[in-house]
């Protein structure tokens, strides 16, 4: 059984973009609704 913790991310998914890495945090950078978890594509796929 897979006992790894499972994080599900739901985001707009369009924000992977050319900010400096330290500003981007993850692939989704800061802002009112910001979060960052890398790996987003426009379709939200891995």
């Amino acid at each position: 059984m897979d006992r790894r913790a499972f994080l599900g991310v739901i985001a707009d998914g369009l924000l992977a973009a050319p900010l400096a890495a330290e500003a981007r945090g993850l692939a989704l950078p800061g802002g009112p609704n910001a979060l960052g978890v890398p790996g987003f594509t426009a379709k939200g796929e891995h």
């Binding site: 913790a5 973009a17 900010l19 890495a21 500003a23 989704l28 802002g31 609704n33």
Partner: protein, 289 residues
Amino acid sequence: MEPPTPPGQGIFYDRMRELGWVYGRDFVTERRAYGDQLERIPDLAVELSRKGVDVFLVQGAPQAARVQQVTQTIPIVATSADLVAAGRATGLARPGANVTGVQTLGQLAGKHLSLLREVIVGFSRAGVLETPDGDQGIFAAYIQEAEASAKALNVLLQVPTVHGAGDFATAFAAFRHDRAQAILVHWTPVLVSHFKTVAALALKHRLPTISDLPDFASAGGLMTYGVNGSEVSRLVADIIDKIFRGAKASEVPIRQATTFWLAINLKTAKALGLTIPPSLLLRADQVIE
């Protein structure tokens, strides 16, 4: 545009590793995107909950509300301007329900106007680009603050109504007609899908712009000023660590992001005939040349 960062890399994952969570070994992530269609969120949440998700991570309070339509027990970590004001939490110290997260509340509109005043001589007329925000109220909060700040700075604000992306050109024509000297562009889900169009329209109409959307300056806007994503990412990781270790979302305090990010696009400044004061350039975290 850079390719997306692979899962497991980036500040969030670095912080998770510091906290003892190695991606792939100790936890996994699955992502779903809704673009600007917030109504898709409940279905995406159902899909992830069927797969056994332990924690949801979402952008925005209304997005969290849509996940709450699906579950009131699985913890939801949200980044939002103000989770309490949005009704997702009853208090910062004890959120009360299954939503906690990072608040990114900042005096953005006032700062946006102040920054524009530093680069535009005789700044007295500004436009605010309204974009639908999916009933989030974030635009209303922004405009409320913009109006108060504009009054204090003696700047006249104009806010043409934009119902959708098709209205952007009309809005910019109105800004031009009413002699706006600069445009404030607030981050909403619709803007995320259209910020390049907005930046291009602003350049076409020779209007300086500022936005809290992180990539706006890179896309040709004059300036970005908003919350620092790296801080948000670390705070999000801190919260997820606590929940992974068994804490209840209702009892994990909401954190407040406190640092901001300023980017200035010098190419855009040059195209608009603007000189950025050295004092402002020195304060920029990123200068795009």
